[in-house]
């Protein structure tokens, strides 16, 4: 990280690269759009609840996309919903991230062949940062997905374009 290790040696002064500081701040308080879709959403809610406690990673569900840093696409995306998700995504302020949770959001899941109403992967509509496999993924898997997203943000650069 580069700055936390200098924290206590120089009294109250912390030396850091601006980039590291911003990335650290950003990844430590990822606010999520309060948004769930299908059975995966139940698992996402379990992840937010006290046993798995998403909050310890700074993840708080926000009622408006305007407050949010990332969105978890947690479940089956119907074609009707896909147009709404696109709008939600466009309403979120930059920088914004997406976790695609579960087989449905990844590739259509059980509806991949006969789901006349299902979008076969949310990445056909919005860009995905982390894919979490499973049907549904366990809370541990979603937590791992979040850690992967944090890892991605930690190495972001203000000058180099990443997304």
């Amino acid at each position: 990280m580069g700055f936390l290790d200098k924290e206590f040696t120089d009294g109250n002064i912390v030396i850091a690269k601006a980039e590291d500081l911003f990335n650290w701040a950003r990844l430590s308080s990822l606010w999520q759009v309060s948004f769930g879709l299908a059975c995966c959403a139940i698992e996402m809610m379990a992840t937010s609840a006290s046993h798995y406690d998403f909050d310890r990673f700074g993840v708080i569900p926000r009622p408006s996309p305007r407050h949010a840093d990332f969105i978890i696409i947690s479940g089956t995306v119907t074609l009707k919903m896909a147009t709404r998700i696109k709008r939600l995504y466009e309403q979120m302020p930059d920088p914004k991230y997406i976790i695609s949770m579960g087989s449905c959001a990844n590739c259509g899941g059980p509806y991949w062949e006969h789901g006349y109403h299902v979008l076969k992967g949310i990445d056909r509509v919005i860009p995905v940062d982390v894919y979490v496999p499973g049907c549904p993924p366990r809370p541990e898997a979603l937590l791992e997905g979040l850690l992967k997203l944090q890892e991605k943000i930690r190495h972001e650069s203000m000058i180099k374009k990443t997304a």
Partner: protein, 162 residues
């Protein structure tokens, strides 16, 4: 409590001009087959007659029968007061599927009929609000639960097949 045969007899007596038929060779409950444009009158009677009192439309579902060239609607009725049940069926031409609405008899028929319209394209005559209910409002590729339905390649620029 009335048996299917008794209910059928009551209907016969009250609608002598109607084309009614009782099918009992079913693995489930007996089915009364009625004509699609009279189903509202029959259901008003089933709902109001004091010895029947079918106050509950438990289910309404459309079925595609392409071999017979028909679209059918099944009605599962129940009475919470007398505790008897009956199943009705109407069949209509697949090319001009028109059935009278039951929204005047049971309010719950409204969304069920919209669903049958949305997925099978059955037109419920005099329905107050016959719009799609599950598929997008601008879905123009047809009715997905028909056996000969083909999914479109794209919807609003999104690729639909896998």
């Amino acid at each position: 409590m009335k048996k299917a045969e008794e209910i059928f007899q009551l209907l016969k007596d009250n609608f002598p001009a109607s084309n009614l038929e009782l099918k009992t060779d079913q693995p489930t409950e007996a089915i009364i087959i009625a004509s699609p444009l009279e189903i509202d009158k029959i259901c008003f009677f089933l709902h109001d007659a004091p010895e029947l009192l079918f106050d509950d439309l438990m289910n309404l579902s459309g079925v595609d029968e392409p071999k017979a060239g028909l679209l059918a609607v099944y009605y599962h009725l129940g009475s919470t007061k007398i505790k008897h049940k009956i199943t009705l069926k109407v069949s209509t031409d697949r090319n001009k599927p028109e059935v009278s609405t039951l929204t005047e008899v049971w309010k719950s028929a409204d969304w069920h009929e919209r669903e049958a319209y949305d997925l099978l394209g059955i037109i419920f005559l005099n329905h107050p609000d016959l719009r799609r209910i599950l598929m997008p409002y601008d879905w123009d590729a047809g009715y997905p639960l028909r056996k000969d339905y083909e999914n479109p390649e794209f919807y609003q620029g999104m690729k639909v097949p896998y």
